[in-house]
């Protein structure tokens, strides 16, 4: 369970104060206008920004000063998730071995992920040759391999076309169910995620405004 209590951080003139609980296995959609503080919330949970006050607990463990690599959290961003000079295989393998020196069982694991994501034929491909969807699949592969139970998605599919976005959401749902993951996802087009998320959290001016059930979501909510 993720328990966020009054985390406050001041970034230039922008001050936040968040409190929320997320149950294990839940899929949360974060919505709000641009500049409202959606990504800041993810950065605080991931540890890329340290809070000035308040507390973040994951499964009852205090995480306030824990380094990002030691939190059970993986992130997927809108772009720049992959190292451009590494191959598809290497980009996924980083999730299990940053030294990129894998033993036989680790190699097998990477290969299984490649098969699972239909990327086997792209094994040695250059990142520059991949489509937007393929790139995000490679990044998802790394996240799956890193075996962390909380996934933070920061508008990861907003640059893809609508059909591909739905395909990606389906893929995330499949992985979530199989691996029993908790997902917090900042959404660019919330309407598309209505049938996927368990609830929406609306953020306004650096604060959590309200929780919205998917069935209560309407287009005038931003």
């Amino acid at each position: 369970m993720i328990k966020v209590e009054n985390i406050s951080v001041k970034l230039d003139d922008f001050k936040t104060n968040y409190s929320m609980d997320v149950d294990n296995g839940e899929w949360i959609g974060i919505i709000g206008q641009s500049g409202s503080g959606k990504s800041t919330l993810l950065n605080l949970i991931a540890g890329f920004i340290y809070a000035d006050s308040g507390s973040i607990r994951i499964n009852s463990v205090e995480m306030n000063s824990t380094h990002p690599s030691e939190r059970p959290v993986s992130c997927l961003f809108q772009e720049n998730n992959l190292f451009p000079h590494l191959s598809v295989y290497e980009n996924i393998a980083i999730g299990i071995s940053p030294r990129l020196k894998l033993n036989a069982s680790e190699k097998k694991e990477v290969q299984e992920i490649l098969d699972y994501l239909n990327l086997s034929d792209k094994h040695n491909s250059d990142i520059g040759t991949l489509s937007g969807g393929e790139r995000q699949r490679v990044a998802i592969g790394r996240i799956v391999l890193s075996n962390k139970k909380i996934i933070l998605l920061d508008e990861p599919f907003s640059q893809l076309d609508p059909i591909l976005r739905i395909e990606m959401l389906n893929l995330i749902r499949k992985i979530k169910d199989e691996k029993k993951l908790t997902i917090i996802m900042v959404l660019h087009t919330p309407i598309e995620a209505v049938s996927y998320v368990d609830r929406f959290i609306q953020i306004k001016n650096g604060r959590i405004e309200r929780n919205i059930k998917p069935t209560e979501y309407s287009l005038d909510i931003t």
Binding site: S74, F77, N80, F83
Partner: protein, 534 residues
């Protein structure tokens, strides 16, 4: 006819530049012959000079990168702090200020009467003498080039997307893996460019080697030309060395041009560094960071502090204004520096106007290449050689002393045109391509287009190129030392002569004035006319 006005401006500028170069080459070739060249090349002294020129350039380049790379990787973590920003600005200033100021700073720190020697005297009872010769040359080159390399590496690191830093940190990459997977791929191309530029700068480092070389034993080709002309008056040797310099410099210039085609020179203050500090910190890492930063401080901050302290001790204001020799030098520095700088920017703009029209409209590539080449030809012609050629061509026609200021302005202007073109070029072509349709739609043409639209939009880059051209011209020591006299003497020549006759107080006064003058110009250009970034 009117539609060719744009073309004529560039052709006229090219003609003027080529005229100076042709007059100079004519003078040089009059004195050269294959037999003479072969004879002189076989001279062991000449061979040792060529060897030393290449050797010191390679070592200087290697050491500069060796210091700058770990320094950049460490400093990137602290770029958000104001103090670090100030240090980086100071470092940039040391790169673009006249070389003689830096050399003076090095002497104040490392010289026989410098701080380090004083400390040694206090501890061991002996003074240290290591500044003249290869040591001094290397120390000075590190002082000048580490800030430059640092800037280049930091700007490369700045191109790494924030998201990739986060991915790397989240996947627990250690320091070596971060370097190998994230940082090195971002900086490796720039390291090559930086090395090539540093190599070129050290290869033609006239002022440093003239003052710190300590004599003919540690001399580079350009300084040997100067000795041949000024001390031995051996024109044959000067001409042969000049030709060797042209051949070697052509190779280096080709290297630089091919590497830096799309590179835009920007000062630190315009570099909006946004590198996040997400790396793990512990005492070991902190100790390493402190060590590396101390090395950086020793390399370029201590000389600057020594310089500032010595300038503060210069004496009172009255002693400055009562020194007529100094004030005369100040006058000529301003006159010659501003004239060369303004002329350089003017000619560069004329060349660029034609280049733009040739590339974008007429698509006559060969003529564009000729015009661009005329602006960059100076890169392979050492100013001292150009000056020699002009002297040899004109000495029987004019009274050289009378026309000396015009020759100095002309040559210094030519030496700064490649910089001006590089700074102005990208901005001018960008503005032209963005607004050309708008200009055409509203029939905005001719002088009004330049004065009311293009120049105001290029205000920042014009100010930067003007400041760099003026300060580079003001810092010239090679050409002024050939054509200068007791009447026409700039501050660098005044300082050089003062250093040569051990009048350190006079040298410090000159340094203070030159420092105030050049930093004021750079400050005005960046802070008042520059873009309001960061």
């Amino acid at each position: 006819m009117r539609k060719y006005n744009w073309l004529i401006s560039g052709l006229l500028a090219s003609f003027l530049i080529l005229l100076i170069i042709i007059v100079s080459l004519f003078g040089i070739l009059k004195y050269s012959s294959i037999k003479l060249i072969l004879e002189i090349i076989n001279d062991r002294y000449i061979q040792s000079i060529i060897y030393f020129t290449i050797y010191q350039s390679l070592i200087s380049c290697f050491l500069s990168i060796l210091i700058a790379l770990p320094l950049a990787l460490t400093i990137q973590k602290y770029v958000k702090y104001r103090l670090v920003k100030i240090v980086l600005s100071l470092a940039w200033l040391s790169f673009i200020s006249p070389v003689i100021i830096g050399v003076f700073a090095i002497i104040k720190l490392h010289g026989i009467s410098g701080w380090i020697s004083d400390v040694s005297l206090f501890i061991t009872g002996e003074k240290l003498e290591y500044i003249y010769g290869l040591n001094g040359i290397l120390i000075a080159h590190i002082f000048f080039n580490v800030p430059f390399a640092l800037r280049m590496i930091l700007s490369s690191l700045n191109t790494i997307p924030n998201e990739l830093w986060r991915v790397a940190i989240q996947n627990n990459l250690n320091r070596w893996q971060l370097f190998k997977i994230l940082e090195w791929p971002a900086i490796r191309n720039n390291i090559l460019i930086t090395s090539a530029i540093i190599l070129c700068l050290c290869f033609t480092s006239f002022v440093v080697v003239l003052i710190l070389g300590g004599g003919p034993k540690y001399s580079i080709i350009e300084v040997a030309i100067y000795y041949a002309l000024k001390i031995e008056f051996n024109i044959d040797r000067a001409v042969t060395l000049g030709i060797i310099q042209i051949i070697l410099a052509s190779f280096l210039a080709l290297l630089i041009i091919s590497f830096t085609k799309n590179y835009r020179i920007e000062p630190y203050t315009k570099l909006n560094l946004k590198i996040p500090n997400l790396q793990k910190n512990n005492y070991k890492i902190l100790a390493y960071d402190i060590f590396i930063i101390l090395v950086g401080i020793a390399a370029f901050l201590l000389p600057i502090i020594a310089l500032i302290v010595s300038c503060l001790k210069v004496g009172n204001f009255y002693s400055l204004i009562s020194n007529t020799g100094l004030l005369n030098s100040l006058y000529w520095t301003i006159i010659l520096g501003f004239s060369s700088g303004i002329l350089s920017v003017l000619l560069s703009m004329m060349l660029l106007m034609s280049l733009k029209i040739l590339i974008l409209k007429y698509k006559i590539k060969w003529l564009a290449v000729v015009i661009e080449l005329s602006g960059n030809l100076i890169l392979i012609l050492p100013p001292i050689l150009l000056a020699t050629g002009i002297f040899l061509s004109l000495r029987n026609i004019f009274n050289i002393q009378q026309i000396a200021p015009y020759i100095i302005i002309g040559i210094n202007c030519l030496t700064t045109i490649p910089f001006s073109m590089r700074i102005l070029g990208s901005d001018y072509l960008r503005i032209s391509s963005i607004y050309s349709r708008l200009f055409d739609a509203y029939n905005i043409t001719g002088i009004s287009r330049i004065l009311k639209y293009e120049i105001p939009m290029m205000r920042s880059s014009i100010a930067t190129s003007l400041a760099i051209s003026i300060t580079l011209s003001m810092g010239d020591l090679g050409v002024i030392s050939l054509f200068g006299s007791t009447d026409i003497r700039t501050l660098p020549l005044y300082i050089y002569q003062s250093l040569g006759s051990y009048r350190m107080d006079n040298a410090a006064q000159g340094i203070l004035l030159l420092l105030i003058l050049t930093t004021s110009i750079i400050f005005i250009a960046e802070q008042i006319f520059g873009e309001k970034n960061d």
